[in-house]
């Protein structure tokens, strides 16, 4: 590529190395600062991540879609009253509000094996983009295996542990929570799945959960995530527990097992 004789931007001769990593390398410079284009690219990624946190999830739209699929659902909310409150008080995001408890109390209770919880968490776009697609794979698998399911709980301003109270209420063995993960610049819509066996509100801790992280277009596929979840469910049913003592031994995609060989050392 030819350059102007006196370019305003200095390009990095190693620019093409950016094919080797997702890191933002070889950005060039304006003076010694970030060139305009690279600066705006960063702002764009940050805007997407910020919007994922702050644009509220359209729960009605999600509910409608579930209805069309013939899935039962119920809408609940944590004790966090708004987004600002939610971000600063994770303790409140783990507890259902009074209204939700009343709603649960008035709904029929049939004995169930599993509850599925869908919470907005820290990324509404994660749930908007990925919850439905994953549920369409998950629900038939659970149903086929003979599991009785509670109505899918759609929880506004929910943290991971909010599933405990819901599982508790239904006396469900399995609690499966789909939640929007903290967005990164490269993955604003990453969904996580937390699995807890015999979840109990105020008793279960993070050590009792298994996490399947990074479900998005460039991360785990729904099929890969489901495979991991099924493995965990089977293991939990056998061991009667979940969490640190239940290891996910499905092969991890990605992690490098190669040596330290690289072009700097050749």
């Amino acid at each position: 590529m030819s350059h102007d004789k006196n370019p305003i931007i200095a390009y990095d001769p190693w620019h093409a190395l950016n094919q080797l990593t997702s890191a933002r390398i070889g950005l060039g410079r304006a003076g010694m600062s970030l060139p305009t284009r690279a600066n705006l690219d960063f702002q764009l990624a940050h805007a997407l991540a910020r919007d994922a946190v702050h644009i509220p999830l359209d729960f009605s739209k999600l509910a409608q879609a579930l209805e069309q699929l013939g899935y039962h659902y119920q809408r609940l909310q944590s004790q966090a009253e708004n987004q600002r409150h939610y971000l600063q008080r994770p303790d409140l995001g783990r507890c259902l509000n009074e209204h939700s408890y009343q709603a649960l109390a008035t709904s029929d209770i049939h004995p169930v094996d599993a509850v599925i919880v869908v919470a907005d968490g820290l990324s509404s776009t994660a749930i908007e983009n990925h919850a439905l697609g994953f549920l369409q794979l998950l629900v038939p698998v659970l149903t086929k295996a003979g599991y009785q399911l509670a109505p899918i709980a759609l929880v506004k301003h929910g943290r991971v542990a909010i599933g405990d109270a819901i599982a508790d209420h239904y006396k469900a063995r399995l609690c499966i929570t789909l939640i929007g993960e903290r967005p990164g610049l490269s993955s604003p819509d990453s969904m996580g799945i937390y699995f807890t066996y015999q979840a109990k509100a105020g008793v279960s801790t993070d050590a009792d959960r298994n996490c399947i992280s990074n479900i998005h277009a460039n991360g785990l596929t729904y099929e890969q995530a489901l495979k991991k979840l099924c493995y965990l469910i089977a293991g939990a049913e056998q061991l009667k527990l979940s969490g640190v003592e239940l290891k996910d031994e499905t092969t991890d995609t990605g992690l490098e097992l190669s040596g330290s060989a690289n072009f700097l050392l050749n």
């Binding site: 190693w14 990593t21 933002r24 390398i25 950005l27 946190v53 490269s186």
Partner: protein, 468 residues
């Protein structure tokens, strides 16, 4: 004690821990813990009360019980009465006045450090404005050495942080090369491994050690694995320069990290024994951050900034090369927005420096915090004005493994230009020798690769495509 009146209201704060917490400038983590002042008047009343507390009181009223907390025992048992003597008659308010005075010279502050406890410096920081924190920290000078010298006047070092989501060796190497060619990496080349196990850690340690050796870079390597993983690596003769560990300010919080003082001592001795340093042998790298004790439910009713300062007592026991407060990583439930992050960064730097630590700052934020690049620019600028020892260097400020934003290679060059700050002298020489920097502390214009890296780049990109 701990009583005051403000606007005809009388306050009785009852305990030192309570007056410290209530006097702390507002931050979300203290509200979350339920220890913060309930309104502005109560906060300033607590600040009046705190200003009147004699410094000696901190030696008799432990904020976490001596009997049950080894960090408290460390603080009390190793307190140097002789060093403390010149200010032993001060109140917290007197202490602030003296720190700001000309009498508090670099020499006197250096001599005073062993006489100060973390709680004393935390207390005085609570009644200081940002300009006070900057002015006093700037007078402190803490120098540490391994293969170069960190903390000299008008110097600012950077940790090159070439993280990769899957620890891919080629991806890591690409970020290292990018960083070196932007003049980054004199504090350390330090990788957060995607998986904390011995195999991954050893592989990355070899990679960094080989690169440093091949290109004769006057810097040190670190893989930020758990201290027990690094100890195993040392046992297996894997090359370890610096031992890393996250630390906190209470025994219980450290237990939640899986460490105690004995484990740190064992690791320190093991790394010292390797004698891999050239100009010095400061071989520990610690990271801290406000909120870590609370998040482990191990804060004992203290405010998060006081807990943070206590972590520095743990750090100074092991004479570290680097101590890094990772200020905005923990999220908005502890530090809500740019304003809280900026203040916390400057408080941590001030407290660390006063206690004699080589303080750097991971000037950073997550996407659910109310902060952006402008906030980071403000903290970077004021941190450098305060004489901060080092900052992070991450390609384009975007850590693709840890999913947060920190300072970029370009950010370091910005502040070098504005404040005339140079890298560590040994590293600066290397940069000049290899045509990366000119003698005026600026990047040289590059139309082709510096000779040092030319052949490696040709191998990976092909000789014809070298100038992209």
């Amino acid at each position: 004690m701990y009583k005051t009146t403000a606007q005809h209201l009388s306050y009785d704060f009852k305990t030192l821990a309570n007056v410290m917490a209530k006097a702390t400038p507002a931050r979300s983590g203290d509200y979350l813990a339920g220890v913060a002042a309930s309104n502005h008047l109560e906060r300033v009343a607590a600040q009046y009360a705190l200003a009147d507390v004699p410094l000696k009181q901190f030696l008799t009223e432990a904020l976490v019980p001596y009997e049950t907390d080894e960090v408290t025992r460390l603080i009390i048992d190793e307190h140097d009465q002789t060093a403390f003597a010149p200010i032993s008659h001060f109140t917290v308010g007197d202490f602030r006045n003296w720190l700001l005075s000309e009498d508090a010279s670099t020499e006197k502050l250096t001599a005073l450090a062993p006489g100060l406890t973390p709680e004393m410096v935390a207390a005085v920081s609570k009644i200081m404005r940002l300009q006070d924190l900057i002015l006093v920290a700037k007078k402190c000078r803490v120098i540490s050495q391994f293969r170069n010298t960190i903390g000299l006047e008008n110097r600012l070092s950077t940790r090159l942080q070439p993280n990769h989501p899957t620890d891919n060796a080629t991806g890591v190497a690409a970020s290292i090369l990018d960083g070196l060619l932007y003049g980054s990496g004199d504090a350390v080349i330090g990788i957060n491994p995607a998986s904390d196990n011995l195999e991954a850690t050893a592989r990355l340690l070899h990679l960094l050690s080989d690169v440093i050796e091949r290109y004769k870079i006057p810097t040190q390597a670190c893989i930020l694995a758990h201290v027990t993983t690094t100890l195993k690596a040392i046992e297996q003769n894997v090359p370890v320069d610096l031992v890393f560990q996250s630390i906190a300010g209470t025994q219980k919080a450290n237990e939640s990290f899986g460490i105690n003082l004995n484990i740190l001592e064992e690791a320190h001795q093991a790394a010292l024994g390797l004698k891999r340093g050239t100009v010095g042998n400061d071989c520990m790298y610690f990271e801290t951050g406000q909120g870590s004790a609370l998040s482990a439910n191990a804060h004992h009713g203290l405010d998060q900034q006081t807990c943070e300062a206590r972590a520095y007592a743990v750090a100074r026991k092991f004479k570290p090369l680097l101590v890094n407060t990772v200020v905005g990583f923990i999220g908005p439930e502890y530090l809500y927005d740019g304003k809280q992050i900026i203040r916390a960064g400057l408080e941590d730097h001030f407290c660390g420096k006063l206690l004699g630590l080589p303080m750097g700052c991971d000037i950073c934020y997550t996407n659910h915090a109310e902060a952006d690049q402008d906030d980071m620019d403000l903290l970077l600028s004021s941190f450098a004005m305060a004489g901060g020892s080092f900052i992070m260097g991450i390609p384009g400020a975007d850590d693709v493994m840890l999913n947060y934003q920190s300072t970029s290679f370009h950010d370091a060059l910005y502040i070098r230009q504005v404040l005339g700050l140079r890298p560590a002298p040994e590293f600066e020489q290397w940069l000049i020798e290899h045509q990366i920097f000119n003698a005026s502390n600026q990047l040289k214009p590059l139309t082709e690769m510096p000779a040092l890296f030319k052949s490696s780049l040709q191998k990976v990109l092909g000789s014809t495509d070298e100038s992209r």
